[in-house]
Symmetry: C2
Subunit: 394 residues, 2 copies
């Protein structure tokens, strides 16, 4: 064996997820892909907005000199400026291009942030359930992932977070709208979190960052607005992408925005730029950097996701599943009717329904449905969802 | 200060390079960009081949469903297969798609490889002078960068490499054609290196990988061919990109190819795929993955670079500079006429010529000229190059 021990260990620990995916693939082969209802991946099924295609077409038709060449590690200045102006209008804060770094999606953004800020052993606190990659992202750069349970509604448990902060805590990472729960943390919670961090930073004599991973910011329903961390706390950093709102996750384009009033900004931004370079991202993909300035206010039609959410949630509630209707993203996170989520997911699999056990997200006893799929998949799955819970209840 | 100490330290250590770039920018402002001869960056000035634009245009005109969506972490199967077939024809080895992982350029590829194979404290040996990022790439993942001097001609010093290998050595990383020297290691050296690694692996009871970073493979002149590491050694891995041969470095598309006969291949490839995912690359940019299969045999016209090399090298030799004519890439690495390369680079700067001191590449006493610039820049720089050496000699 010659691969790194930790990596081999990670592979072994996640082998049950792989087995599950393999079982799904096997079923698609046997029954035909159209007869397997795959809710396991957050790969949005909507096509990008028409304007994305237009702008892409324009760039390809009328290429600028060296448009596919290296860009500054921080990104194309005109793109950074456009993002800064967008944020300025959105949050009434004086963003400039110096607060913006273009990245290889939000996943790239988070790795860049942790590379830039973590000293060995620094703790990063995040609420559970959490996006399955957070533990890796923190550990990659010598940090210690420190999940803290949310409350019964999957909202922040501020007391638990406050208790978890100690002299090794470097950052709190939140994700709202949340993957896997779909919850949006209300403004009062974000404000209170800012207050806690301000006090704790002062008491502990170290900057504690509030990092918000926001790729689903525009995917919210029922007229709610995702509260901003920028107005709640100075030492705040947003990592985000165009993956979900423009439905282009494969193109790996996103950005980091640091609060214009963040501590020691020049050094922090310089380390972020250095991290983007030395982690091998070098620059966010060039062609996408050229076109996103004109797409900052665009989005896929969120009403389509809303309808999918409503159809599926209504049916599941009728069948007897317990779930709260989430405000955003494209996930449902219902409670399993039996305690063991892995076993329950296997029961659904027997009905050719593929979902992910909550254990994978630090939320055992629940399961995640990614409803960014076509209507046929949703409709086709309903008899199976019904059958499984009826069998359990009978 | 809240950024990571090591990162701040790296910034401070490289501040002289930043100062140099800032001085260059200042001069462009004062004298006009057209009067400053900038050879400091390896950002190719040639436009991509016509076929690249054609294929890109076709993809944008006739989009496939979800063509901008997430791809498997290892890459689009049809793209991996096309690369495997290309390599099979090129090296007469039985590559399959399972040996190929699409990456975010060669920089991404190397980070993925080191993340996958390095246990804490593992040494990675590479010949000096070296690409300026290698130290970071190894250190990012807990490895220990171990540069070993080349011989007087910048070819491998096999004795020194053999002596440097110990029980902590995990890999040897070579880069041929080389940045910054432009040298191509001859086949006899690659074969001998393979033999050394085979013996040492056996004696030390551990796999030692030979990793070749080959983005300049197609940029060779005078009818030479870059020897393959695959036939010289089983435990070999290539990291490469389309950045230089298609002149699209900003698009971040490349791949990893593992030797089909490498030890414990399944586990190794699984850890590479995991690394690509958890480092936040997730997948190589989607649009580029769709088009590269039809561009595998394409390249910019290398005769253009050859002409630039010849014009510049001939003039510098005439002026009295010492340099060997490199076989590939688009760099010259002449000896400085005074011992201190940083001071010499400042003298050139006074003539509005921007180059990089060899110290930045572990090659003090030399300087790097990136000649992937337009002819006007080369011609315009000649009087300055002449003036500086004449002044020193007088």
């Amino acid at each position: 064996m010659s691969a790194a021990k930790k990596m081999v260990n990670s592979l072994e620990k996640s082998s049950w997820i792989r087995q599950m995916f393999e079982e799904g693939a096997r079923r698609k082969k046997i029954y035909g892909a159209e007869n397997v209802f795959d809710f396991s991946l957050g790969n949005p099924n909507l096509e990008p907005p028409a304007k994305f295609k237009e702008k892409l077409w324009e760039m390809v038709q009328n290429p600028r000199p060296m448009q596919h060449g290296y860009m500054p590690n921080a990104g194309l200045p005109s793109t950074r400026e456009a993002v800064a102006n967008y944020l300025k209008a959105e949050y009434s804060l004086e963003f400039t291009m110096n607060d913006i770094l273009m990245t290889c999606g939000a996943g790239g953004a988070l790795n860049v942030i942790f590379k830039a800020i973590l000293d060995p052993g620094d703790k990063v606190i995040f609420p559970a359930p959490y996006f399955v990659e957070y533990g890796f992202y923190v550990d990659n750069h010598g940090g210690v992932p420190s999940p803290v349970q949310t409350d019964g509604e999957f909202l922040l448990d501020l007391n638990k977070i406050e208790d978890a902060i100690d002299e090794n805590t470097k950052a709190i990472l939140i994700n709202s709208p949340n993957n896997p729960t779909g919850r949006v943390y209300p403004e009062a919670q974000i404000k209170a979190l800012g207050d806690i961090l301000r006090q704790k930073s002062k008491r502990l004599g170290r900057t504690i960052y509030l990092i918000s991973d926001e790729p689903y910011r525009k995917l919210v329903y029922d007229n709610i607005k995702v509260p901003s961390i920028f107005s709640a706390y100075e030492n705040s950093i947003v990592a985000t992408s165009f993956s979900k709102d423009l439905s282009i996750p494969g193109e790996r384009i996103g950005y980091i925005a640091v609060n214009p009033n963040i501590d020691s900004k020049d050094v922090l931004v310089a380390t972020l730029v250095l991290a983007n370079r030395i982690l091998g991202f070098v620059n966010a993909p060039a062609l996408m950097q050229w076109i996103v300035p004109e797409l900052l206010t665009e989005s896929v039609d969120v009403n389509i996701y809303k309808r999918k959410r409503n159809v599926l949630a209504k049916a599941l509630l009728e069948f007897g599943y317990e779930l709260s209707i989430p405000e955003g993203a494209f996930y449902l996170f219902p409670k399993c009717p039996i305690p063991d989520d892995v076993q329950f997911v296997r029961l659904l699999q027997e009905e050719n329904i593929l979902v992910v056990p909550g254990s994978g997200f630090g939320g055992p006893g629940y399961f995640r449905i990614a409803y960014c799929v076509d209507d046929r998949t949703i409709e086709g799955s309903l008899p199976g969802f019904k059958k499984v819970i009826e069998k359990i209840r009978s």
